[in-house]
Point group: C2
Chain length 339, copies 2
């Protein structure tokens, strides 16, 4: 079976976008439901999603396990999986990790751009690695089946999370810095360590993560994918577009500044270009996954590798990651996978 | 199969009590997890239960569906089902009903003793029936599979809930007022309407609900059960002991007064007897369900009726009640059951 899974979107959700997911044959999408929200505020976002599920059962449903991806394919719908881009919804309470998992959350970044209670974000000057709470939180996330995501975290924190986690972790949306040395992209050291332990990288289509930004060509992107396959093994790679379709620029300001500063912080943007950058013309919405598939084939990847990157690798990762830890899954060595 | 289900307890939980559940052969218990808590406070109670489940997987686990009762029996454990005795955790937000159901809550009283946002409690002077929010909440509870419980509600509110609900409702813990005319016990009119629509009554062992209080005899209790079978049909009857084992008297004060009054309210108690009353000597903890079974047999009930009241009726009700409404389940008439 070959699935199409986008492992990161944060769109301004609408029936139009859900229909585009169907037009694009997208079986599953991991959607962001919190940046800076408290637990209580995040619950309001869950409620909004419950309303979408109730209003559009013909297009979408809530996904919680790998089998839901198959169910989506069989019933012609898209399974929506939940994730946090920041650990703010668990506040200072390790018990909220299991509560969030029970509510369907399947990915949680240990940091957004800043220092969190758990680890250090990639915009801080100093990276002190996992905190005391961070180590406890990783163990609890391993236990219940909530995936550690280090997309916005700094290098030391990321390497320590890879090491501390007894289950493979994810970088859901970023690219290699050897292709485009953006602050949010990841070093070869990080990506090697991630994938050597069975972790997954989702390639981002967000222009700040692309060589030549919005002007990045599909050929350039796919040549990068080919090289990543050679370095890390195709089975550890997938897609996480970071698609922020139809969002007003006020949202990127919320993502970057939240409530932590009264001054503006441009993050990956700048005073000249503070808003969302335009997407590359070969990927503007959920109907364009065929372009990526064709581009990877044209670049010389095997059908099996293309299928894996388009969704089968995330599907396998979902199957291994979303349930409670099996007895004996605490050991590191057993899970070290060949790249 | 014959199960043992206690459909209402609010004990001061401990491994000792969980072991007593096993000694008593109790397959499932519906436990109260909120009286006056806000949503956020109730989540802390869920966290405490998650800790119990993690610490004692050999004794208890979280139950969410009827199949969990069978699983409890097969694995020699007790399935714990969650409920609220007051709608305070949904605050003023209908969306929290589905969120609470997703967190495993399966019963919710529309009121405790006072007027709530949904209906009128049995200690108010005037009963104005279901509120505007109350009607919407009942419909939403029907949709997601959260059972309406009217144990502490006033008569008009209860009758209106029975009528408004498209699925059978419950009075989880009370007795007929024709046996003992306590304010918390229920009129023949209410019990007839409840059971005529397929609803369930759980017999209470709380002394204020018993004829002669703590001195109530098992024979008197079982004679009442026999008469209730004759009036309402045995299949609509079960047990809901209201066991508050090992609780300090500060807890009954919290149950009655919450944060709504600075003055003491004795509820069913009095200034002379403000605390928890002593349980009848034939039912003091989970090991005593055999006494009730024997008493009912001795009183002349058939084995099938005894099995039903001990747990099989609640098991059937769980199977019909905890899942989402089936298509077409909105109609009243189809669900009218013979008593």
């Amino acid at each position: 079976m070959t699935y199409v899974i986008d492992n990161l979107q944060y769109a301004n959700w609408s029936p139009r976008i859900f229909r585009q997911m169907r037009e694009g044959g997208v079986d599953a999408v991991h959607v962001t439901i919190a940046y800076h929200e408290s637990f209580r505020e995040m619950v309001l976002n869950l409620e909004a999603w419950n309303r979408w599920f109730e209003a559009h059962p013909d297009l979408i449903f809530k996904g919680t396990c790998a089998e839901d991806v198959a169910r989506a394919r069989e019933t012609g719908r898209t399974a929506i999986f939940f994730g946090f881009q920041n650990p703010s919804p668990i506040e200072d309470d390790i018990g909220l990790i299991e509560i969030c998992h029970q509510l369907g959350v399947r990915f949680m970044q240990l940091t957004y751009n800043n220092q969190s209670l758990l680890a250090t974000g990639c915009y801080e000057d100093d990276d002190t690695g996992l905190t005391r709470f961070g180590r406890q939180a990783v163990a609890e996330m391993n236990r219940v089946g909530l995936v550690v995501d280090m997309s916005h975290s700094a290098d030391r924190s990321t390497l320590e999370a890879i090491e501390a986690s007894t289950r493979p972790i994810a970088i859901t949306h970023a690219n290699p810095s050897w292709w485009h040395p953006a602050r949010r992209n990841k070093s070869d050291e990080v990506l090697s360590a991630l994938t050597a332990r069975g972790g997954m990288l989702g390639f981002s289509l967000y222009p700040h993560h692309l060589k030549d930004g919005s002007a990045c060509t599909l050929d350039s992107f796919c040549a990068m994918v080919v090289e990543a396959c050679e370095r890390y093994g195709a089975r550890h790679l997938g897609i996480g577009t970071d698609l922020c379709q139809d969002q007003p620029d006020s949202i990127v300001e919320w993502m970057r500044v939240g409530r932590w500063s009264k001054e503006i912080d441009y993050g990956e943007g700048s005073a000249d270009a503070p808003g969302f950058p335009p997407m590359p013309d070969w990927f503007t919405d959920n109907r364009d996954f065929g372009n990526i598939r064709e581009g990877m084939s044209r670049a010389g990847l095997s059908d099996a590798d293309v299928d894996g990157i388009m969704g089968d690798n995330w599907h396998r990762f979902y199957a291994e990651s979303f349930g409670p830890a099996k007895h004996g899954e605490a050991g590191h060595q057993a899970r070290r996978a060949a790249p």
